[in-house]
Symmetry: C3
């Protein structure tokens, strides 16, 4: 597992992987490492069942002393904003693979339109394979999808004048209303490469030869014996970057505290949890591997004082310390270009939670959640599927349903975060705090490593009322 920065990783108990290399980052001035701030802190220990046992209370006051590099870095970064390209990436990153649909959303012979990164796409499954072309006739610009016509297996005919295209390469192969058109074979639609795995249909938004999809997906997506269960694909009015930052956000577990799953699991989760040290935030920049950030939270905050009154996580023992510092968590959370998150051990140990924030346009993203686990035999596979449905319900419920799934809060948080960023210049007015350190790192890795920024080109997404008089 070369290419990670920071401290050596522990092997994953279930998968037997181990960290064997250590990639030296060449832009140290941005991601300077430090061990300061760790000295003298008492840490909790992780027991076999994954629950944290408290040693003794950490004197967290020291944490924000002059030697607090993380806080200082956040202050510096939000002042200097060394993430200019990220600010321009309103519409997403170009030349990447994106999850567009779940496999079950496109049955054999079915067609389906979607807008991704502002581009109008049209999908069809033919003989099991998924094809995708621009959903816009090159003649008069109409969407095929409002009245799709397919005379033969591999062709798509426009309902207006009969321009007929090959799904496989987008080429114009016939025009039903003209005799032997001189245009045949000379022009075509943009055809989008697709890839399907683990019940997810990916599409390449970019020009030229697509990159290796392994570079554009979360690492565990390629784990041996992985089995998956699609949870939801849900459109949210929120820019994809605000969504990604929310997904990866260290401290927003505060907002999740009412989640019924917390009560059910018996695990007591803190108000906030975040990395105290820069060196347990790993910046992934190795060539040929997914780029992104992996963090390990070691600070866990269980109680604070407000107006002299203690505000304490319910059920957190009265005599337990307010703040606990642990060894960096073995369970990882990573955020990967272009827009994917991977959470290990969620919603329970041995599972992997994948999610994506797929840009639709400047104001919307698709929130895509895929639940995964491991199965080495048919029996294990059956067990996985039997458990997947109830676990999926813990993760997501139709908005409005009670009790909510875990990630319903995230959908809520995003839709209410969008306004300030989109319309009140919040990219320049936000006031970040120490737990946002990983977010500043994320912005920088995107700025530095994104292949390309999607520009509002010749595509305009359909509006909700489009096609109505």
């Amino acid at each position: 597992m070369a290419g990670v920065r920071g401290v050596g990783r522990k092997p994953h108990p279930e998968l037997g992987q181990s960290v064997t290399g250590h990639h030296l980052c060449h832009h140290r001035h941005l991601y300077q490492e430090s061990r300061r701030g760790r000295v003298g802190l008492t840490r909790g220990k992780r027991s076999a069942d994954g629950r944290m046992r408290i040693g003794k209370e950490a004197d967290m006051d020291r944490e924000r002393s002059g030697s607090d590099d993380v806080h200082g870095e956040v202050e510096r970064a939000q002042h200097e904003k060394p993430w200019q390209r990220y600010l321009e990436a309103e519409l997403g990153l170009r030349h990447y693979w994106y999850p567009a649909l779940f496999s079950h959303e496109l049955q054999e012979g079915e067609t389906r339109p979607e807008t991704i990164l502002g581009e109008r796409l049209f999908f069809k499954r033919i003989d099991g394979r998924v094809y995708c072309v621009e959903d816009r006739c090159l003649h008069r610009g109409v969407p095929f999808s409002v009245r799709p016509e397919c005379y033969t297996k591999h062709t798509l005919t426009c309902w207006f004048h009969g321009f007929t295209y090959d799904w496989r390469d987008g080429k114009l192969v016939e025009i039903l209303s003209e005799a032997d058109s001189a245009l045949l074979g000379k022009v075509g639609l943009h055809a989008y490469p697709t890839f399907e795995k683990h019940q997810v249909i990916f599409v390449w938004i970019g020009d030229g030869e697509p990159a290796d999809i392994r570079e554009d997906t979360q690492p565990r997506f390629w784990d041996e014996h992985l089995v998956t269960h699609p949870v939801v694909r849900y459109k949210i009015k929120c820019n994809w970057r605000v969504a990604a930052e929310n997904g990866f956000d260290a401290a927003h577990i505060y907002g999740h505290r009412h989640w019924i799953g917390m009560q059910q699991s018996g695990r007591i989760r803190p108000f906030g949890t975040y990395p105290s040290r820069q060196d347990i935030v790993q910046v992934l920049t190795e060539d040929g591997k997914p780029k992104g950030i992996v963090k390990q939270d070691d600070i866990h905050v269980y109680a604070r004082q407000i107006e002299g009154q203690e505000v304490r996580v319910p059920l957190w023992p009265k005599d337990a310390p307010a703040v606990v510092q642990t060894e960096p968590r073995a369970g990882w959370v990573g955020c990967y270009l272009p827009c994917g998150l991977q959470v290990e051990g969620f919603p329970k140990p041995g599972k992997v939670h994948f999610e994506w924030y797929v840009p639709v346009d400047e104001d919307h993203h698709y929130y895509v959640i895929l639940h995964a686990g491991y199965a080495r035999s048919e029996e294990e596979r059956q067990a996985f599927y039997a458990e997947a449905e109830p676990l999926a319900k813990l993760i997501w419920q139709e908005p409005g349903a009670k009790p909510e799934g875990f990630n319903n809060f995230d959908a809520f948080a995003r839709k209410w975060s969008h306004h300030a960023y989109a319309r009140e210049d919040w990219w320049h007015r936000e006031r970040l705090f120490k737990p946002d350190y990983i977010i500043t790192q994320w912005r920088m890795v995107v700025s530095k490593h994104a292949r390309s920024i999607q520009r509002r080109g010749n595509c305009a997404p359909m509006e909700v009322d489009e096609g109505l008089s």
Copy 2:
């Protein structure tokens, strides 16, 4: 019938008119005539009942040989875009007559507001005559129409402060809330000239003396013995130019192929039909006459091959040729400035179909359809009216009703064409094909002959939610 370009016209069987002149166009480089491409083609013959009898199959491959001037012209034109003024005419052409209402929509004493070319108009019928003024008080800009007050026959009083105008000339004749205002007689509303004929109320959108309305209407509108039946006036979210091009579009008959009227009439219509030669497209530019384009389609496409599989018009005999070239059709389709279409012999021989694409604003037009025929006696008039209602149903049904009328497809096509042109720069990205030759000619005649382009001036159309809190 001077002023037409191209081949001589055949007399209209019912009306006995004949083409007597031939107007020489002075911009030959744009509309260069050619007879090439006709040589050696076998043509069908039109029988007495108007149905085409096939001679033998045309070798259409030759049609797109190096000598295909029509295709070349379309390629050249869409590259050079010699129709700049047309591109600027988003809001319509100024200094023209437009059909605003059907007569039955404005009964004696009634008032009615409409927005045309972005201007807010207010109509009233007084003693049978139709008057029209700006629907905007010159004082505080409110629309009269939300609470019209008419104290006397010829006046309109604003509900706000009692400014009182004469419907006939717009002049401010009294103010009920001021004693002997110094403004009386000095200021006034814009008063729009109107004209009513054949159950259509026209309004002059322009300044100064209106043009002769005969110049701004389709020629057969003035035919002797014409009788008419209003079909529909329907607002569509689509720019008027996209609408006009759709109405006049040669090859889009492909999209109409499911029309029930085709099956009922027993006529087999091709997938596409268009003029093969520039000289059967007539550019009307004579002074004092309607300007526009008249086309005669001679190519008819009944079958094509897709992926080696024949796609054939249903009921088209197996042994009949895939493509037929006929004599140019005696029935004419013409598109006229500012925005009118005339189709002879539709929906059946002996009838005339008029339609207009009246600009409302940049994103909407009114689709106005008028069915017409001829009657020389009261008996014939009765016959016309008896037949008009069922024929109107073949032409248009309330959207959603099944089976659809013929022109419902056009409304559908337009609303789905608008997006690319309005928001995706399709005016510069469209890929026209040979049957669009007549559309390139239309754009050029508008660019060259339009009296004026309507500019977004001091009028803004009311939005749907206007006046709601």
Copy 3:
């Protein structure tokens, strides 16, 4: 009552106040006084019951002679537009007190968001006092109000990451998800000063120390023994300036003529009424006092001729003159910065009608109506409240209810006036008339005396569909 310009004021019968001073305006070129136009006019006399008794018909023709300074001034002003700052005040005047809520809308412990002058505010009542902070977390910009959390009496905690603020000064006092944040005490929300009186909660929109609220409220609001009854707070799609001008509008009583209260009171009101002389329009500019305009209408128009036909106020006696000039009304109507109106003797003698046009954003204002009277004893107070409810119904009814309240017409008029001003450049195209003289004066006093103009800064109002996917 120093600081008024123009003729000396009569004492208010009930309150015994009298005009003791006369402020000399230093910009005489703008507000030049004149007595011309008064000579030789017969005036009505005000009887004890407040109804006007007619003397003899005024020869109003003279009124618009060359010596009509008021008309001339309106013509000049609308040509030169000496109110540039007013034109820029789309979003309201900054550094002023505004009525935000009625007291009963915010019970003890309740929270409530409002948008005023484009700023997102959040109110809470704690121990009877009203506090107000920005409704936007300084961290990620989310509104607190969608999920308010208050752990202790004086604090507000953000639902996202637990940033905790003091309602009293906006300071960040704790962060629940971080251990001992270095940000505590260093940053905070904007905290808005509030003031509550007569069942109205005011908020200071501005920076620095708020002005004395007496300068920003209508003078009678501070009268001894005043008792009040909130009538309505209603959001209208109309810019606040258009609303204020409508409220103060001299001649628009024409539109109110169908009001049932007119019939009930037995008072016959004219079609229009306005000041004939500049010197009965008072421009209030004295330091430390409310700025604004007070007008006294002396011209009353009861009948005009349209197309030779007399249009007469119903019930106005046939032999009574069409136009009556009276002594300037003792009852005053005043319009005060930032956006308040005061009408004495409405809806009946002895009452005071307050209203405000509080800017929400460029396209909306809150119409706030407060009914008031006087009570020196508990008995009089009871009497006031007993009468207030039925009087309030005369003033305002839920839109749609019949018969309408008096001010429902104003809401109607405003919503239909907004379009032309907002989208058709009506600020530069309007055609004012003589009764608008007071409006030109209002515009000038705002332009000259407004402390500051609100600019679209870093706040954007939530849209109706905000937070929906």
